[in-house]
């Protein structure tokens, strides 16, 4: 996104009130972006299901009922039941909670560490920048899932550790995007003017540089949340993420594997849940990218 210095922003205000707030302009453009809006609406529905899961889900996702084991989809159990007679629809709805939380927490870890590394590396320059960027290079030398596996091995299996592992594996993307943004913003006149006027470092970074690196990071975060959900559910599928009896989609797929011939619904619906969530995030992220960075649109 093009950077706008405060004086230039005031000038633009006087010339054209409509385009004064770039975020409002972006929002207006996003509302007119059909696939982006489709993604946003899907996400809203998924988030609604996740937040209101106890009221939306027809049954307790952990309630075992051996008599109702492996029932196929029917009006009583729309997605069927699992080997312990638990309602699959309720488990899939509660699964949205876990997956969205996993995506958000992982991305928050990656975003905060990546932005911090990127800002320090971009602004400080010199040996500190070199050391930090070599660290990022080292992280980049690992395929993302392999890095997540190493982290899980060090921390031990579990949902929280899976979130940390996925978050760490995504740090390099944010560090690079932020550093590139900081390097570009540093050369802008308004930053140099603020420096010359003696603006304190925190103000320079927080008020002048940070607003200019937010937009690309938002795009990376929106698309990265989908990738994080895929990676997190892969870890659970391998038995290294969420543990039973948690209704986590990857774990549910893994548990249903042994019954594919007998009960297709055990593997079908949790996978569908992952795909729809990731697709919604991709549509939303693509829409944001088109709106916030028109060059790539």
């Amino acid at each position: 996104m093009a950077s706008t210095s405060p004086p230039l922003r005031r000038q633009t205000l006087s010339l054209n009130q409509q385009s004064a707030n770039p975020w409002r302009t972006a929002l207006r453009r996003f509302v007119r972006h059909p696939t982006g809006m489709l993604g946003a609406l899907l996400l809203l529905a998924l988030a609604g299901a996740a937040v209101f899961a106890p009221w939306v889900a027809p049954y307790d996702p952990l309630a075992v009922d051996p008599i109702a084991a492996l029932l196929p989809p029917s009006p009583e159990h729309l997605f069927g039941t699992d080997t312990l007679g638990r309602d699959m629809l309720s488990r899939v709805i509660f699964g949205a909670r876990i997956s969205l939380r996993l995506g958000l927490v992982s991305v928050t870890i990656a975003l905060s560490c990546g932005v911090l590394i990127g800002i320090v590396a971009g602004y400080s320059g010199g040996w500190l920048s070199a050391v930090l960027m070599r660290l990022v290079d080292i992280l980049l030398a690992f395929p993302a899932l392999v890095l997540a596996l190493v982290t899980i091995f060090a921390l031990g299996p579990g949902l929280t550790n899976a979130m940390i592992a996925v978050g760490i594996s995504a740090i390099p993307a944010y560090a690079r995007v932020t550093r590139a943004g900081v390097l570009a913003a540093k050369e802008d006149l308004y930053v140099q003017a603020a420096e010359a006027l003696g603006a304190p470092l925190w103000k320079l970074l927080g008020s002048h540089i940070l607003p200019n690196i937010i937009a690309p990071n938002i795009v990376v975060a929106a698309l990265g949340t989908g990738t994080a959900i895929l990676a997190g559910s892969a870890l659970s599928f391998l038995g290294l993420g969420a543990q039973a009896p948690a209704p986590e989609w990857g774990l549910m797929l893994s548990q249903g594997r042994g019954f594919m011939q007998l009960a297709w619904w055990l593997t079908f619906f949790p996978g569908l849940g992952i795909m729809i969530t990731v697709m919604a995030l991709n549509l939303f992220g693509d829409g944001l990218r088109d709106v916030l960075d028109p060059r790539d649109g």
């Binding site: 080292i138 030398a141 993302a144 899932l145 190493v150 091995f153 559910s233 599928f237 391998l238 290294l240």
Partner: protein, 307 residues
Amino acid sequence: MATFIARRCLSLIPVLIGVSFLVFAAMYIIPGDAVDSMLAETGASAEDLARLRAQLGLDDPFWVQYGRFLSTMARGDLGTSLVNGRSVAEQVRTQLPATIELTLAALAVAVVLGLPLGILAAVKRGTWLDGLSMVIALVGVSMPNFWLGLLFIMLFSLRLGWFPVAGTGGLDHLVLPALTLGLSGTAVIARVSRSSLLEVLSRDYMRTAKAKGLPPQRVINKHALRNALSTVLTLVGLQFGALLGGSVVVETVFGRQGIGFLTANAIQRGDFPLVQATVLLAALSFVIVNLLIDISYSLLDPRIRYG
């Protein structure tokens, strides 16, 4: 050119040392050590544990242990598995061919399907063909590969009986895992090659080529594709990393032999030396493939060589 290659190779040394440090440190911070894993169920006394720990040098300072780790790795000695006592190097050697076979087959699927899909979408921009290609690509990037693998098994193995459900063997054992692993790459390559080609198609020299009266086929093949290919080539290198990571999951789904399956099992069983070796191997291959991509990139575009 030789200087360029030498410079790129030298720049890898600190990265590889950093990678080995990170892997070693990750294993070092885990509570418990190899001795705990080896003698966990034997009821050995605390003195026995301390003696064995001293024998293996596990009570040496971190840097001494790391130095020893580097020197044994450099000699190709990857240690022995804590679970079955077999040589790690031998296990890696046995499993590696199956993973190379799977990764190359998946890469071929990704390029052979993804590139034409992206070209078609770019050339027919705005038509239903473009829309369809991009919907396929969107579904491809959003679908977890372990789910796709299970759907393939349900349809093609259990229902139609066309392919075996699991195992390693001939071509019939390779088709479903390669398709499963390659389809997400197909989607990514299709999306990127479309946008890369669209960007090239809007350049001035493309207008000149068309204005000269060159046939559209020639304009695309000779001028557009060649210029769009370098972006796609970089992506292929990145996709190789995704495929290496994905092989852990896909080999587990299909019960295939391979480094991925070995890694997943080693992590579940807490087999330090095996995890160290397979993770280092994955990072090393990823780094080398990206180096080769960089070199081929510079062959395509001389500005990079001399820049």
